[in-house]
Symmetry: C2
């Protein structure tokens, strides 16, 4: 029997498909009251998902044309602070896991360690940290720099950052707090220690001001594709958010990465691999195809090019929109691992830059799975059985409809097949994921 | 008629009085689940308080004896991340204001601006930032330094930090987000601008990734006493959390500070001044005195000395506990403005160091107001009518009893006298405080 899937919901104000925010049934984007996020998260919890996931950018995209104007006119591009949003959601949910992004490039280990430890305490063991490196010059310019760190350097910093954070989480043993009111003894100081992290990037003494988190350590998520990324994640991550445009590429990544997990001295099941997918659920396959056509008709090609420019950290406004996709693989200074493939593939297929923009804008190169609930469940099962994943990050094309349809119709189908839980069995995110408490 | 008071609740896991956490009716300290904080905040909202306030330290105190052991054995000394806690409380409350501390010494303006703007959005305009400078070497050692910044330097950095944060909050005009789904126009980019902050400490380009907060700018709180502090607060703060051990000192501070507010070109009412007080409410004056005696009997003098050492950033373990208080005014490298007075006063009164420790531990030099509800209301009214304050920060001796007694018995007495609101009249914290939206 196929093992159960793990499912995460990618939370956003506007949906992932660049036409999604314009869908007639979509919530208005850029309204950052709690209600929208709360309804989505409650729906995910009713569907018994493992976790919700909040991505981030530390700047309004302004690489395309060297300014934010084209971006902001053409697509939603605002981001609440993910830790604030996650914390707000922690107190209106009870069981679902909660993951937020914090950059290792522009934060301090003490803050990050304490914030996620705090969410873990307040939520009773449901916190996860998506540890990323930041990729664009726009972000650098918000943090006292003119250019972002190069790929190798920012991964070196990330590795040390992760080491320091884990050391801080380990500064309090379980049971260190006594709170003995009668004897007047607050803690057993022998169960608390300095972290004494003394590295190249950071010197952090500790101890943390927060006792050991309920999960021991909050879950560590990492997202990426490059070789350097894979080595770091194999050593540190509990969950990997993967980008696999096709099943074949998914299988290839999964095999290679799990091999590295073993080489890092860990058991395979200790790191769950969840590729992102964009489900489009219809009553029938034809109905789903109709929704997809409708969404595609709402895409503004320029929106895709602004998004790609920011992620690649390379200004695509220099090339004519109607001309062929230029082979700029050597000029990518942002997300290398991912855009090497995107550009090579587009050049090979002879797309124009505008066509690539529209295509990328639709799915951000995540696989789009459109069809009836049975068709979608078949496809997810096929990925699982082919050894391409331990589950999926659901990236809704539009919200809330693009995800509530999945919860209402695909989740029950997966449950019927024994591919997804019908009730939470544990209290913590580690319980849901089946990864051990350190 | 005397103007209405503004009231804030100082939230903590353990109460402020060093005997408070040992009171038989106190919640166990160091348990950082949501329940304790949620119950306190809900009670404050039922009592129609202006706001709750979360303080912070970025290290476990370890100045006394050069180690954390004495501290952790003798008193609660853990702190959740205040922004995480505040965010969690934002989604389970509806009207009360929400203030959290973030250090200008060890944070980045972009993060702080975005976090408080985000809380302001999610809470519908109830966020406040308590902008502090960090004072102890223990904190410095958690952020890549061996010694904390000197007083002048950290205030220079704070001033620039505040300027950068305000510039970031101003990067989006009201109405910049259009979210025109039909036309495919997300924002009016002409209503968004770069902050282009280029200073000595920070270079921050902006714009923020969050549209203009509901309050225009979240409320800025500052806490302190020194002359440098007063100049900075007169220019920037909407609310000042003051330390005034006596009514006379309160009047002196209030007059001098409001004078500086006028000199900074602002109207007096634009900055509310709230001294901290510790109320101990009994059924009668004698009953309150009994509670105070009980709390005092639970104080461990060493707990006070560890607290003072951290705040002064000077190790008091070097002096005999039974000897006279040493005149160490010139060695204070932490909170100068405050401890100059504390030490001078203790030397003059001929206290031993242990006696000072016990006394300081009880109230942290905030005035303790013990008595029946009528007695306490009289005293608060006296402060207000003498021109010592615009209201108070309630610092409960123990929790929850030390504050719920105030809500249940003193608040109704203040309401009967027309000194406190019986219902919220506005939606935002600025509405509650009566300070204008910028």
């Amino acid at each position: 029997m196929t093992a159960e899937l793990h499912l995460a919901l990618y939370l956003s104000d506007a949906g992932i498909h660049a036409g999604g925010w314009r869908h007639p049934a979509a919530d208005a984007p850029g309204d950052h009251g709690l209600d929208h996020y709360r309804r989505l998260t409650e729906a995910a919890e009713r569907a018994k998902l493992d976790l919700v996931f909040i991505a981030d950018k530390l700047a309004v995209d302004d690489i395309y044309g060297g300014d934010f104007a084209t971006v902001l006119e053409h697509r939603p591009n605002t981001h609440l602070d993910p830790i604030v949003l996650l914390s707000a959601l922690s107190s209106v949910t009870e069981r679902i896991g909660l993951a937020a992004t914090a950059s290792t490039t522009y934060s301090e280990p003490f803050h990050v360690a304490r914030m996620f430890a705090s969410i873990d305490h307040l939520s009773g063991g449901r916190a996860a940290w998506n540890a990323v490196t930041s990729v664009s010059d726009g972000e650098a310019r918000n943090f006292n720099r003119t250019e972002h760190l190069d790929h190798g350097t920012r991964y070196e910093r990330a590795a040390e950052f992760l080491t320091a954070v884990r050391a801080l989480w380990d500064t309090w043993d379980d049971g260190a707090v006594l709170a003995d009111q009668r004897a007047g003894r607050f803690a057993d100081a022998g169960k608390v220690r300095y972290a004494d992290h003394d590295g190249e990037w950071f010197q952090v003494r500790g101890p943390l001001t927060v006792p050991r988190p309920p999960q021991g350590r909050p879950v560590i998520v990492q997202a990426g594709a490059s070789g350097v990324f894979q080595r770091l994640a194999a050593e540190n991550a509990d969950l990997v958010f993967a980008v696999a445009p096709t099943l074949e590429r998914g299988v290839e990544f999964y095999r290679g990465f799990k091999q590295q997990v073993r080489e890092a001295g860990r058991a395979e099941h200790e790191v769950r691999v969840l590729p992102g997918i964009m489900p489009i659920v219809g009553e029938t396959d034809e109905h789903a195809a109709e929704i997809e056509r409708e969404l595609r008709s709402l895409v503004l090609p320029i929106a895709g090019l602004t998004f790609m420019s920011a992620s690649m950290n390379h200004d695509l406004s220099r090339y004519p929109v109607d001309g062929p996709v230029p082979d700029v693989r050597d000029e990518i200074r942002g997300s290398k691992g991912r855009f090497q493939h995107v550009i090579a593939d587009a050049v090979e297929r002879g797309l124009t830059l505008g066509e690539l923009g529209a295509e990328y804008a639709a799915t951000l190169s995540f696989p789009l799975v459109a069809g009836s609930p049975v068709t979608i469940a078949d496809e997810l099962q096929r990925w699982r059985e082919a050894g391409a994943c331990d589950g999926f990050v659901l990236m809704p094309a539009y919200v809330p409809g693009g995800v509530t349809d999945f919860f209402d119709h695909v989740v029950p189908e997966l449950q019927r097949r024994g591919l997804f839980r019908t009730e939470y069995r544990g209290r913590t995110l580690r319980d849901h994921l089946g990864v051990d408490r350190p």
